[in-house]
Subunit: 211 residues, 2 copies
DNA sequence: TTTCATTGTAGTATTTTTACGACAGGAGAT
DNA sequence: ATCTCCTGTCGTAAAAATACTACAATGAAA
């Protein structure tokens, strides 16, 4: 049987090690690389590539979503399983739209991880039942859309960084953008969400469990 | 050799499973229980108890710190190793004060986890080198009073206004003081509470129900 | 009683943030 | 095809925040 090459992207070493041990139980999977840095992930996929990328969304700097899109662009055949800390509904939809094959949270059991992996290995998609329900339900009831869902990906990314208390300068460095650019995103976020200051951004983010 | 009973408290199942696999490598340790819910942890220690509690601070509801104190009260002989997502030295200090025997982050390697476990199993304490340094440089804060209780009245007043998102200019107008004055209070607040930005002030204030 | 930390207050010099305007590329609508 | 909105990007000028330094009054400690 051909082994499937898996790359682990998660910024917590302890978690990567745990995942490796879990994956080691099945001979079908072999971990060929791992890293906690977005850039490493991109580097690796530029050069080597793997069958499956297990990707944590919460890496520092460049957002997980960015990495996802990048990998999908340079190696479209890569299957990506997103592993997030956040309760499903916040990000799941965006990641699926961006090309992920599956989305599970760190609250999942390892059986669920395996199920998801097997499914996407065969070319399928995997989302938890509860998430699937929510997504279906949402199509119909547009009304209870959270305000921040109208933000573009970039805007949401900036919003979260701002909410974490990063300064514009830090963010612009991290993303290699001009501070003006960050500032423009900020303005748009304030406008779209009808907020007035970073303080309100933080409170909004805390209330909506974005951070 | 007597095995040491370990209880795992972390709200991410996947992480608990990873930890179990890692711990399984050493016969000295045996995982006797696990849970992602603070209340379960407390229940367990009310009834059974274990030698070591590996505790994630970021559990939902009742804070990890709460759990820590509770367990220490009902079973003071329990050794507690705190496993946090946050690099924040802020938390570290409080957890140690609250009775934890060690503090490591999820960025640690599993070797570090083992080192920490062995050390505290023998009755020692473990903090990472970098953290130890930081703690040395910091001045002592008295017992278990809330950090913000060391603020002077004026400082607390300013802190609350800042936490509400008021700008220095607004505050100085409101109080008929120079913005410089407000700024000085702010600096002192940051120093006393060991915070670094307004964002942290806001989070601190929300967490401590100051606003 | 001298010393020393704490508090309330402010000025100055830099950095940062902010408001605003600008522009190009893509997607949808007409 | 053309128009228009949205997105991603940036620059500039003005406003605000920040890091320092400073100093007097109070009060506690030695």
């Amino acid at each position: 049987m051909k082994q499937l090459k898996i790359f682990l992207a998660d910024d917590h070493l302890l978690i990567r090690e745990g995942l490796k041990k879990i994956l080691a139980a099945e001979k079908e999977f072999i971990v060929v690389g791992e890293s906690g840095h977005p850039d490493d992930v991109i580097d690796y996929f530029n050069k080597e590539g793997a069958d499956i990328l297990i990707l944590d969304l919460n890496m520092p700097g460049r957002s997980g979503l960015d990495v996802l899109k990048h990998v999908k662009r340079i190696k479209p055949e890569t299957k990506i399983l997103v592993l997030s800390m956040y309760p499903e509904d916040q990000f799941a939809e965006r990641t699926i739209k961006a090309g992920a094959s599956g989305y599970i949270t760190k609250e999942s059991a390892s059986e669920e991880l395996m199920k998801a992996l097997h499914k996407i290995a065969k070319g399928g998609n995997y989302v938890s039942n509860s998430l699937a329900e929510k997504l279906l339900f949402k199509k119909k009831i547009v009304s209870d859309q959270k305000p921040h869902e109208v933000l573009s990906d970039r805007e949401l990314q900036i919003m979260i960084l701002l909410a974490q208390g990063k300064t514009q300068v830090e963010i612009s460095d991290e993303l290699s953008l001009s501070t003006s650019t960050i500032n423009t995103y900020r303005s748009r976020i304030l406008e779209k969400l009808n907020l007035k200051s970073n303080a309100e951004i933080i409170r909004y983010a805390i209330q909506n469990k974005l951070i």
